[in-house]
Symmetry: D2
């Protein structure tokens, strides 16, 4: 049994981690911290967990996280980088669901996140936790930077095209749509029910923090920079990301075969039959990315449709997948949740 700690479990990625770990046969949830809610039972804040999670929130000062095998940070950006070194020094492995360790270029990170980084050397050590790209390194990692939700959906869609060298790298477009839970559980006017329902809008068109993360990931694949236009949108659903990805073909290829072969051995990437259009609800609650590839009207524009549940394959589920890999467990342990439809 893995002894598990969670830092900051009062947001949506936190409660999702709890849901998944409550059903994980090798996970023993030892401690979950919250400064503001110390003493409160987890199941009081999230009554869905009554009967499944018996813990109360612990004050960070009394958490003894160093006694855990692995600690998840489900915190705002800038927290994990303050606490990770001590944990690593104590032999604890760390998975950060925030962005502290995702961007290798510290100056880029500091520009987009508006803070000075506390531990650039750990950024260098951290492994970007996209198993479909970095599985071998994740196995040995002490510190995993769990990918963002948009970056997961976008990278999994673009990677086969870039690896095969068949699209222009300089003019990629990622038109992405996210459910509202991606904005977190913080009380803000623009994510109120009465603001976000029956509405659709773009946001962050001038620049979104996931842009450099996607660019970095794609550049790593081909060993040179990519040009990417990334437009995120807010859509009135709770969970789900739908990435519609556009690239200009440089040469011909059997796109369907390309995608099927790339992900043939991936347990959590499902390439749909030719002509399919994936729906976000078909991955609701599950650690899955479903993908389809199209070439409309036989033109030179390839269109990839990639869907995930932003809280699962885009956050907590991928974190558990990374944990399984890091500790040598079967990769799907605790992740065999059938999507909830309807």
């Amino acid at each position: 049994m893995l002894k598990i700690g969670i830092v900051g479990g009062t947001g949506y990625t936190g409660v999702e981690l709890l849901r998944l770990l409550a059903g994980h046969p090798q996970a023993e949830l030892r401690v979950i911290t919250s400064r503001a809610d110390a003493g409160t039972k987890v199941s009081q804040m999230f009554p869905s967990l009554r009967g499944y999670v018996d813990l109360a929130f612990t004050h960070p000062d009394e958490a003894h996280l160093e006694q855990c095998d692995v600690v998840f940070f489900a915190t705002p950006n800038g927290i994990a980088m303050q606490q990770t070194r001590a944990l690593l020094d104590a032999g604890v492995r760390v998975i950060d669901l925030a962005a502290d360790f995702r961007i290798k270029d510290i100056s880029v990170w500091e520009k987009w996140y508006g803070m000075t980084h506390a531990c650039p050397d750990l950024v260098a050590e951290a492994v970007y936790g996209l198993p479909e790209v970095n599985r071998e390194q994740i196995k040995k990692a002490r510190l995993v930077a769990n990918p963002g939700c948009y970056p997961t959906a976008a990278q999994l869609g673009f990677i086969p095209l870039l690896e095969a060298g068949i699209v222009e790298e300089g003019s990629l477009i990622a038109d992405c749509k996210s459910g509202v839970s991606g904005a977190g559980r913080k009380a803000e006017v623009h994510t109120l029910f009465s603001e976000a329902t029956d509405n659709f809008k773009a946001y962050g068109v001038a620049g979104h923090r996931h842009l450099p993360e996607i660019r970095q990931g794609l550049a790593n694949v081909i060993g040179k920079p990519v040009g990417l236009t990334f437009v995120p949108h807010l859509t009135p659903m709770i969970r789900g990301i739908h990435a519609t990805l556009y690239g200009r073909l440089k040469k011909d290829a059997d796109l369907q075969a390309l995608f099927e072969q790339r992900y043939a051995n991936e347990p959590f990437v499902d390439v749909l039959p030719a002509g399919s259009m994936p729906e976000t609800r078909t991955v609701r609650g599950a650690n899955l990315c479903r993908i389809a590839v199209h070439r409309p009207q036989g033109g030179d524009t390839v269109v990839v449709l990639s869907v995930i549940d932003n809280l699962v394959k885009g956050a907590a589920g991928q974190a558990v997948q990374n944990m399984n890999i890091m500790f040598g467990l079967p990769e799907a342990t605790g992740l065999n949740v059938v999507p909830l439809l309807p």
Copy 2:
């Protein structure tokens, strides 16, 4: 391993059965029938099941249901009563998720359902599958009439009050609200997205088929008829029933203790702490009824709030619970799905 057949698996209770059985360690799904969709892969109709269910729909004539241990009917009313006798004769146990065997008084059933009943003797034999009331009989049953969704939520809320004899039996009120999936997967105008979204309405005020079912269940508890006003409403959510139940108190009682004691040993009924107000999302996807009891302003009206997922504890989950009981399996086998929140 139980060999399982499903008749009519193209509606919401059918796909929900498939979701739950796909995760049930003792269930071997042998056959699922559909006249219209024979040959189609289940996962083509419900892509959420890709990777979990490999079956195709089988034409009823080729289904060999008599080789199953148990057959679930997830069909419109009036189908199960045509096929049940042959299955029972072949030694197959039957769980009907429709209403064919729920009402003991054949004339009442025929009036509300507008058909002649095909096998009144089997109605007499059938056990009403509300485990919290009939667990012992379910163990021995060949044929279980799985309760309706509203009746499950309403009965579980009223039963402690009636058993204790503290409410007037003649003036019960059940003001119930259901998500739209309760109306099924049939294409109809009034359940279109653009009709049901951002809207709230009552329906069936003059009389709804679940009225005689609830009345029968409550009358059985106290051995005499009850007076009940039942008003169902359609609310713009996919899953969930919220029953707000009103009764006039005849004498004083510790209502909280009453409910806690009644359901102390029930694995799927959760009595919330005093003062709580259950939310339907806290049971989303799970075989749970969460209940709270209130006495507003200390008056003589008791208010019970009872929530279920209409497709789980109100249909497919309760059916699996009944199957577990019938076959001597631990009652929660395959039903430990943590609710999906948010």
Copy 3:
């Protein structure tokens, strides 16, 4: 042209007032105040009003409200009572959309609202602005207390029954369901999209501030106290209240005729044909209450279904209706907005 001021126009009742007044041919919107957003253009906060409202928010200290003919308070409770006397003294008429002047019994008000009242004498003067009851007094009023949303829906449904003396006054039940906009535009966790969507819950069962308001209104109708159980619920839609009202009949009556006669001359109350079930969307955006009355199964329980748009007939629309009455305009001026369906 009426010179109009609005205090506190950054919430939902405020923007709704702006929407309606923008189309009102006799209204000249002079000033709208906001301490926090002074200087911001109204249409920047509410881009729906671009092209319709050109004003910017004014700091309260520079608003010169005393130059208006009428001032609307669309503020939190406790604000209007601080400023009303000065306005009345300056000859300005006041319509308060909050609760400061609704409850005649000051001690009751202070208990439910948790404040000391600043001007009990003005409470005595204020007219409760339900035109279907108090039209004549509204005509002469300097100060109108605009009713709450639940109280509007509930009172309009109960009044015909109580006036006719055909229901027991001691055991009324109001099971009410509200859209989320009723909770206002303040950032709070429980009204976030991801919390309120695909969910249904009761709240305030132990006691809600609209309970004494409804009780007062109904008691005034019959000249003696009423017994009322009021259970509000939150339903995942933006706008709309659906009140399901229950009473026990003391004697027989032609319920349909009773309601039709009571509201025969009311421009904003629509009694539906017998057997109807009103949908909230049929009043979306309009100053209408649609009502149906039922007697299920011919029993002794009468069920009234009453729907309004909580922001219109339940708030801003009724306020404009009151303004029209106060200033001798045709009552429907500016209120002929056709409901938006779908």
Copy 4:
């Protein structure tokens, strides 16, 4: 007063026409036809119109449409082309909200719509009713082809760029998202509430009927063919289209000024300030297109965000606008409906 007939008013564009015409001071609604619902009161099918529209549906054979000044077709494709010639011959002007007269190349139309066209000569005569392009021709038209919803949003966004000659014409991308009402009021499984809620999907990626319409409109602007990839998506809201449009810049330009100048005199196109991101709800119920133009990260990709209400500027509102133009009325007559927010 214009005498108005509507053919086929039982769908969403029909009821929307009724809503708008009910508030149009120069419109006298004479007849509305429906074969299936002849004799039914319009307000029985659409209770939102109780008190606003008193007509009943008339059987087509008894409609005497030839006595109208103008007839709107709110019918499925293929109906208007059967009846238009007789109406024109009788001196009636016709506005078709379906697609029968939109595509000038008959072979293209027949390929995409799967029918033989009944009157190619009238297609040649018909004016494409996008006032921002064809206002002068609309004034004199006997027959107007009212544009599709996606084509309206996409063309208004692309036109300034193409007219200015600053984007590559061969690689345009229109990533469009539509509310569910765009699919109409026909009962179909995929638009059921329980299917479309909390879900997002692309559809018609291989080819959608609005693709040739957009291509034709854009080609007309520049006098040569354009290359366009068009991907429509279904988003869980009732009303609204959000078009996210991408083009590759060929030369520098002041994009903001370009758009502002192009639409300076357009009453129903609102160019938002630089940096804005339009929300669909800001046009809900109104005949408006709000547009913003961006150049993310200063790169060579221009991104235009264009929103409309698909039932208003994308259908019925634009039809009324065309009627106003055809009959010399002020263009905004009856169209000053303030958007409904929230």
